[in-house]
Symmetry: C2
């Protein structure tokens, strides 16, 4: 019997709350120990290095560092070291590499150079036996289990949660409630079914969000590109108003991620402008604000944890849309699971 | 008589080499003085803040800082301060805001907070009378003259050159030769005419580059979106192989920026993969490597100065394509020259 198209991706999407439970229990002590080593090092700057889906987890963590720790942070361009051979002064700098496979040669090289240059290096991966885990002083295992679908799903939310545990251990929110909220969202996917049907013939799509929700917009766009071959573009709500707005007309669907907190509230002027343009807007948020549809988020989840939940229906959407369009998201054309770039 | 569509943008594209000459003469002393103040402050970390086109100039400057100065650098997300109210520790940090108008309230607020938090702040703008110029300790005027077209062109290359003068004063290249090289490129636009005709009916487009050429890819995509309403997406050559490659088929034109130096050389595996996919590739580079067309760059220009030249034919392409498609790039639908975001 031929397996159903997308069965791997479907199983891995469904598995996510279970992965979070594992990380919150088995992962708690090792991640707390890693966090203690970071505190001891007392970094003044934090740099992230990652590619693809993991780059969106890194972007999320950059917001955590800037907002929760009040430290300047940046995303490294590996090419500065691997192509141009720069050897930056990285004393007092924490360098966090994020990678599902831990196998990308350019990330390994970047961590090696960073370590030589005085940084404290942390690898956040789904593979403790990887070259990246070896290269860094500290390894954080995201414990997602083997990921077989080419489109990363469970490793993404596992990276988000592991980075949150590493960088924001003192949250007020009862974090153990998250897996149950995730299970509930995954069960109620009627809105996703409807939206997937509506997007059947869309050629391009815009995603948008601000603050912690911006990485969600980026990751949703990548998932849609990888699986459904849509031309999906993500913009921060603020950047959208600077130029890309011109590409939006009622033929271009917009997905806006608007959690309850400040990041979602800051989207109000963007939603107003999109409404003026009569754009087809679907919201992912606590309030049903989308003109064309809405995917509900549970109430009471702070902005910095909301990304774990926001992405779930958007992963489901990418999967369903790919299958509806006759594709197989488990084997997207032209892609390999581990990408070798130097 | 009704003015020709795009006449403002055409005039400002043509004016660029003249703007560079002005900046290299009138701008030399004030920028050298600003560079001296930065050296005296001796920053350990450099952050940039910008939006839209200026964000691409900032990204270019981030590469300069990382490669030439060997300092860690990052791009700030204004929302961390304006939406989430963070007050990061910015001692020993140089914060450079880049903005044509100097009028974006979120950039002004970010610079104010950065200054309070101990940073040395620099505003790089085209308007010495702007709120941003006032807010920063140091102002660098890019001397581009009033920019009237909504799609920024001359202010972009003026920002690139001003940032280069500020951050890489000791270049070996005879920088005064650049304006003449620019004039020559602008005169020889046959390849651009041909490519604009070929893209007449394209719905979406991919741009790509690595290292210093990546900001060019980003800016070219934005110009095409703003003026021609194409769905244009930019990816670093390395990121392109992680996912977005799935969206590429022979119907999606690709523009690859491949200067002579290391950044262009590092694109070889990307071009090879695109050739396997039978993608329609146009190159902007010193060698004619594109399967579907090539725009020549002069030989002998180092990677860190090449972006000033690389963008010229791509600005011309955005203008021509917009006009060919019946639009007016001087008044793109839905856009305003100064975007107010908080």
């Amino acid at each position: 019997m031929t397996p159903k198209p997308g069965h791997l991706m479907a199983a891995e999407i469904a598995e996510q709350p279970k992965v979070w439970r594992r990380l919150l229990t088995e992962g708690a002590d090792p991640i707390a120990a890693a966090a203690a080593r970071i505190r001891e090092y007392a970094p003044r700057f934090v740099l992230f290095v990652a590619r693809g889906t993991s780059d969106h987890a890194a972007l999320y963590a950059k917001y955590l560092v800037e907002i929760v720790h009040g430290l300047p942070a940046g995303l490294m361009s590996p090419s500065t070291m691997t192509v141009y051979g720069s050897t930056p002064d990285l004393r007092d700098t924490l360098v966090i590499a994020v990678s599902q496979s831990g196998g990308s040669p350019d990330l390994v090289r970047t961590v090696e150079v960073a370590r030589q240059q005085g940084a404290l290096t942390v690898a956040v991966t789904n593979n403790p036996a990887s070259a990246l885990a070896d290269a860094a002083q500290i390894h954080v295992d995201v414990l997602a289990g083997e990921e077989r679908a080419v489109a990363a799903t469970k490793s993404y939310t596992a990276e988000l949660l592991a980075l949150h545990m590493l960088l924001n251990g003192d949250t007020d929110f009862e974090i153990s409630a998250l897996p149950e909220l995730g299970d509930e969202m995954l069960r109620h996917s009627d809105a996703v079914d409807f939206i997937a049907a509506r997007y059947r013939f869309a050629q391009r799509l815009i995603t948008t969000g601000r603050g912690y929700a911006y990485p969600t917009a980026r990751e949703a766009a990548l998932k849609l590109m990888e699986t459904s071959y849509l031309s999906a573009q993500a913009f921060s709500g603020a950047d959208l108003l600077h130029g890309p707005l011109a590409t939006i007309d009622p033929q271009v669907p917009v997905i806006a991620v608007v959690p309850e907190g400040p990041g979602g509230q800051a989207m109000a002027p963007v939603l107003a402008r999109l409404a003026e343009l009569r754009a087809d807007v679907v919201t992912v948020g606590a309030k049903a604000a989308g003109l064309a549809g809405a995917i509900a988020l549970p109430s009471g989840v702070p902005d910095e944890l909301s990304p774990l939940l926001e992405i779930l229906p958007l992963q489901q959407l990418a999967l369903q849309l790919a299958v509806t369009r006759g594709g197989d998201p488990d084997e997207p054309r032209g892609l390999r699971k581990v990408t070798q770039t130097l």
